[in-house]
């Protein structure tokens, strides 16, 4: 899968590849662009296993280095997108 440059695209691509992806990724992507502060990580379906798989997918497929422990300390989707945008790259 080609790597994306936009943090929202990167997150949606990663969520699409986990075992239990959140439903309706297209509409989730729209919300993440328009008002990401409205969504919590629970809304993204990111329980502990989801965080694990999402972080691995971000690293393998998008080259974004972010750990499950880092994500666990965040609350909102807007924080996660900022982390993805500033995270080191492989």
């Amino acid at each position: 899968m080609p790597a994306c440059a936009d943090p929202v695209d990167q997150l949606i691509a990663a969520l699409a590849s986990i075992s239990l992806p959140p439903p309706d990724l297209e509409s989730l992507g729209d919300t993440l662009r328009q008002d990401p502060g409205r969504l919590s990580l629970v809304d993204l379906g990111l329980d502990s296993l989801g965080r694990l798989e999402t972080c691995i997918a971000l690293e393998i497929e998008q080259g974004v280095l972010i750990t499950p422990e880092t994500v666990a300390a965040l609350h909102g989707a807007d924080q996660l997108l900022r982390r993805i945008a500033t995270a080191p790259r492989v």
Partner: protein, 527 residues
């Protein structure tokens, strides 16, 4: 891990190059001479159009030994205090010269026929080979320039400086103890197929261990063994030479004749054929059951024959596959009779041989113990019989304690053992145990997958991340198939599913056909 458990297989540190050998006569050749006397006219060797009885083979071995000794005396080498290489084509002369030198007790490293000059040079330098028997010009990189004719095309190549060898030690005067001391000091040498390391390794052992690997009295005999001429690997060489030492018949196939095995098995009237799982797959794909003689039994010493493959083999061929857990250092450890091929989980490797005791590492991780799995710790009693010209038969015995072949095994109540993975291959993904075989079993059943290898990609964050390298069947579009296969894995394995499916033109494998999991892991390592 218990500090008492011995990781090294060698009971004593061994020098390389080896120390002086005793006079050649009283090694295996004299034992073989006894065996020949029992039935000299029995067929010993088939090789292409050559048919040789045991009596004729013994004459050939004596002849080659005399020619070698004559050549050595011409270059002033009376003893054998160095490691020898053999580099020849798949010819009967190569086979006879090699057998003669093994039976004479010379430590030999067989340079692989299929290898290139660079690999030969690397092996020669790494092993410390001091001289080479060869039927062909050697590359300069080997550092051998002086040549001495043995016979025909066969020459001894040595370094430019004079070859100085120590004279042979005096023949042992007081029997077994002295023999044993000598055998402990001398190195045997072989290539391993690379199960543990992923690449063939040079293995040294005491000569006692090397001789024990050639005898294996606890393993059932075969009457006529069909064998492909790839003797550079220690395990293969042991099978072949053991067949001759037992007075049975070795039907030796040239490397180039491999694809005609069914016809050769019929022509040679072979009753046993060593195989590996790759060839078993080939047999099924090409419906070779219709061409192999119905009386032929197959035997494999490969660490794992997957349950799916066993079912398909059994369905087509019936109970004709014998399985052993074996490795090139310890030889066979178990025996699974053909009628037990599908027992329990379909992954059994049989019962321990009478001279083998299995235990489990008490510090096996709890996750493994919960599944009834432990890392095997093995004790094996090695038995060696020699015929000494002065002292007659000498029987020696030694038990190797606390050996670790690196296998994870499951013990069933009836005493059968199942192979659960290589200790080095199974990996922890976070706190969860994942076996590459789970991934392979799942994906290999899909019709789109030609070949698949599971592995753990090392990661400082996750331990190892499950992944799979795969080769799709020709004509299929990876962009369509990979997402489907990935979802298939996720449905079956949940979050333990491989996180990357990596399409490849060819799966990297070592010379013996085993997948190079570590190399794949290294290539796809995460942060």
């Amino acid at each position: 891990m218990s500090p008492l458990v011995q990781r090294e297989l060698l009971p004593i540190p061994l020098p390389l190059p080896p120390g002086p050998l005793p006079a050649a006569g009283w090694m295996l050749r004299e034992l073989y001479r006894l065996r020949v006397a029992e039935d000299p006219r029995r067929e010993a060797l088939r090789f292409s159009d050559h048919t040789i009885s045991h009596a004729e083979l013994l004459e050939h071995l004596d002849h080659w030994q005399e020619r070698v000794q004559d050549a050595l005396s011409r270059i002033g080498c009376l003893g054998s205090d160095r490691l020898w290489g053999v580099c020849g084509g798949d010819t009967v002369e190569n086979l006879l010269l090699t057998i003669s030198q093994f039976f004479a007790g010379r430590p030999l490293l067989l340079l692989p026929l299929h290898a290139g000059e660079e690999e030969w040079a690397s092996l020669v330098h790494r092993a410390g080979v001091g001289a080479v028997f060869t039927d062909r010009p050697l590359p300069a990189a080997l550092g051998m320039e002086r040549r001495t004719v043995v016979e025909g095309d066969w020459q001894i190549w040595t370094p430019p400086e004079p070859l100085l060898c120590a004279p042979p030690p005096p023949s042992p005067g007081d029997g077994a103890q002295q023999v044993r001391e000598i055998l402990d000091q001398v190195a045997g040498i072989a290539l391993s197929s690379g199960t543990t390391t992923g690449v063939p390794a040079i293995q040294t052992s005491s000569y006692f261990e090397a001789l024990a690997m050639l005898q294996q009295p606890e393993w059932p005999s075969s009457r006529r063994m069909l064998f492909t001429f790839r003797m550079q690997f220690g395990a293969s060489r042991n099978w072949a030479l053991r067949t001759l030492l037992e007075g049975a018949t070795l039907c030796c196939v040239r490397v180039s004749e491999r694809l005609e095995l069914p016809e050769l098995a019929g022509r040679f009237e072979a009753d046993t054929l060593p195989v590996n799982p790759t060839y078993l797959e080939e047999m099924l794909a090409q419906r070779l059951d219709e061409r192999f003689p119905a009386s032929l039994v197959f035997v494999t010493g490969t660490d794992r024959v997957p349950a799916g493959l066993r079912r398909r083999f059994h369905g087509r061929f019936g109970p004709r596959l014998t399985i052993a857990l074996a490795n090139s250092r310890l030889g066979p450890l178990t025996l699974l009779p053909p009628d037990q091929l599908l027992a329990h989980d379909g992954e059994t490797v049989g019962f321990p041989l009478p001279n083998v005791r299995f235990g489990f590492d008490p510090e096996t991780p709890p996750e493994w113990q919960a599944q009834g799995i432990g890392e095997a710790v093995v004790a094996k009693t090695l038995r060696v019989r020699l015929q000494h010209p002065d002292h007659g038969l000498i029987d020696l015995e030694h038990t190797l304690e606390a050996m670790r072949p690196g296998d994870l095994l499951r013990l069933w109540p009836d005493g059968l053992l199942s192979f659960a993975g290589r200790a080095n291959d199974v990996f922890l993904f976070r706190s969860v145990l994942v076996s590459p075989h789970e991934i392979e079993d799942l994906l290999s059943e899909d019709s789109a997958v030609q070949e698949v290898v599971g592995f753990g990609a090392p990661s400082s964050v996750y331990g190892a991340v499950p992944m799979a390298a795969l080769r799709l069947r020709s004509g299929l579009d990876p962009e369509q198939e990979l997402p489907r296969l990935r979802r298939l894995c996720q449905d079956a394995m949940g979050y333990r599913a491989p996180k990357a499916l990596i399409p490849m033109e060819a799966i990297p494998r070592g010379p013996s056909g085993k997948p190079l999991r570590r190399e794949l892991g290294r290539l796809h390592a995460l942060s």
